[in-house]
Symmetry: C2
Subunit: 359 residues, 2 copies
């Protein structure tokens, strides 16, 4: 593997080192808002085929980089590949979202869960990581990712998306010991999975805790944060003679950012419901921050997008440690040109020396 | 109207006066989890018929009080009756949620909005309030309610429920002046509507800001909180020689409770993602707090429900100013017996003198 990295802004910012301009990448930067993505998905036949075929996953990962000067690629995959590898049988139906053929319905279902070997059951992900690294050829770093144990458990127990989280919350309040067993085995699986991604070439990793925000503060600490901290402690933090930064992101976790920052991660993802300046005042300089533009700003006119980008940059203020991102993924209805406006605005407005001398 | 009120725990707690036991009522205490509600809805033919027929609205309002020793009734209605009265044409389709026949799609649509006379266009609500007060005969107080201007505007602009709030966020970022005009007329409509409810007999009122939590902190202050504060300033605060307390509730607004408390309201609703003890440390004693049990606790076993009720009571701590509630509405799948467990636990565990000497 070639360790030369031509654009290291992302890795530097995640480690709170100075950069010439704020790095930017977007959650779901490869996705349905891009016509070339929709075409690839149609040709691949299904969302799972995109994920499970390294050539498709690589092609889709690189699509947004061909359009926009993004500072990172993120592996195209899904957080639910891990429970799928644990035997739950994942499918995606159009409009219905993810579905498990064998959701966890009993203590016996949970007792029989085992930690999958990522180079076997999830070999297709590692092959995709290796292929993407080869194709990137050091242009920008590649981010690997996984779901948090709590977030994965919600899907594994509910069987898919849920409106009221009836089953998982029932488990949490009635049988917390059983839920801990599920979270423990899932945390081990995620740790191995992320370390395998790092060994295959992921240069930073991010843990998505999409559903941590539906918990009480007490339950968040006990059932979500604790297992993310355990994963952070078990990760390979250096590869190719370079630090591999870890980003934690709990959507709706604005009240708990101090605790998230204290896990030992390098950076904390922040949704748009908190002000980055206030977050810095609260948690100081121990971690970098990633975020936090309202994803809906991408529906606005270009001039408004530039204003809102400027606002987020001003909220963060000066000093190192900011990775620009949305507070959540790019929405499918967004015009790709607006993403281009955003990326250009971040670089131009944050550059200590304007890149082309004309800003 | 008979001003005798046999159980004034709710009003006393909202005004931070001492009570013999913590009052409890539940958002959506009249609703689909009750078989008698489902039967009434089937007989009425539609959700709108329940809302628009004072006898039905009264019957459904009183249903949970026949089962549980709740400390308040809340008017059975829907926040979207106000935009309906403004001419948008509301219907509810099963499983699809609310739909407006004439959503706001242009500046002209917004320009032509007028403030409806609540005793004309919303007469059915006032008649329901008068009938419920008569039927309650002073047993417990009746709470009136309305949606916040921001929350109403999201439905008026989107045309119904939304996944990504594309249209309303587009309006917010691209045409804030137009959105302010919409919020201004809606705030005036809500003020008149709540004052009419108070004149008809509502003894406390609550403003539901269901979608304030999807905003950035800046946008929340400008587009949601500001208009709720304007309504609070315009409300009749005394009727029948008694104070009429005002409760504000922004779901997902945990980060902004200080600002909500500073509007001049009497009480702040708190969802389950914040700890009531921490909230008290943050905002002091200027307002009462209403909340904040995780609604999913009602899926747990009775002993667990009692434990979680005890936890919320302990989080709040001693002193006046707590109205027990869920952090959001009762979910349709809940067993009514569990609601009975909750109500009994609140009274028993909070009573300064156990009501039957056996606790």
């Amino acid at each position: 593997m070639n360790a030369t990295l031509h654009n290291d802004r992302l890795l530097r910012a995640l480690l709170r080192q100075p950069v010439d301009a704020t790095p930017v990448w977007l959650m779901r930067q490869a996705g349905r808002y891009l016509p070339e993505y929709r075409a690839a998905r149609a040709r691949a036949g299904s969302f799972m085929a995109l994920c499970q075929t390294p050539e498709w996953a690589c092609e889709v990962t690189l699509q947004p980089l061909a359009r926009f000067p993004l500072d990172a690629a993120i592996l195209f995959s899904d957080i639910l590949t891990v429970p799928d590898a644990m035997g739950l049988g994942l499918t995606f139906s159009d409009g219905e979202g993810p579905q498990f053929a064998r959701p966890l319905r009993s203590a016996a279902d949970i007792a029989r869960l085992a930690v999958p070997d990522p180079e076997a059951a999830l070999r297709y992900v590692m092959d995709a990581v290796r292929l993407i690294r080869r194709e990137l050829a050091g242009r920008v770093p590649l981010i690997g990712f996984a779901g948090s144990p709590w977030t994965l458990a919600t899907y594994m127990v509910e069987g898919g998306s849920s409106k009221d989280y009836h089953r998982i919350k029932g488990l949490l309040y009635d049988q917390p010991g059983l839920l801990h067993r599920l979270l423990e085995v899932t945390a081990q699986a995620v740790t191995l999975y992320l370390n395998a991604q790092i060994a295959a070439g992921a240069q930073a990793v991010m843990i998505f805790d999409t559903w941590g925000g539906i918990l009480t503060p007490r339950a968040y600490r006990e059932f979500s944060l604790r297992y993310m901290a355990q994963i952070v402690a078990g990760l390979t933090r250096e590869a190719e003679n370079r630090a591999v930064p870890v980003i934690l992101f709990t959507k709706g976790g604005g009240a708990w950012l101090e605790a998230i920052a204290a896990t030992g991660c390098d950076a904390v993802g922040v949704d748009w419901t908190v002000d980055l300046g206030e977050v810095r005042r609260r948690i100081g300089t121990q971690v970098a921050l990633q975020g936090n533009l309202d994803p809906a700003v991408l529906y606005a006119a270009p001039e408004r997008i530039r204003e809102q980008v400027a606002q987020v940059l001003a909220d963060f203020g000066t000093g190192p440690g900011h990775v620009f991102n949305l507070g959540h993924g790019v929405q499918p209805g967004v015009d790709p040109e607006r993403v281009g406006t955003l990326v250009a605005a971040v670089h131009e407005l944050s550059a200590s020396q304007p890149p082309h001398g004309d800003a």
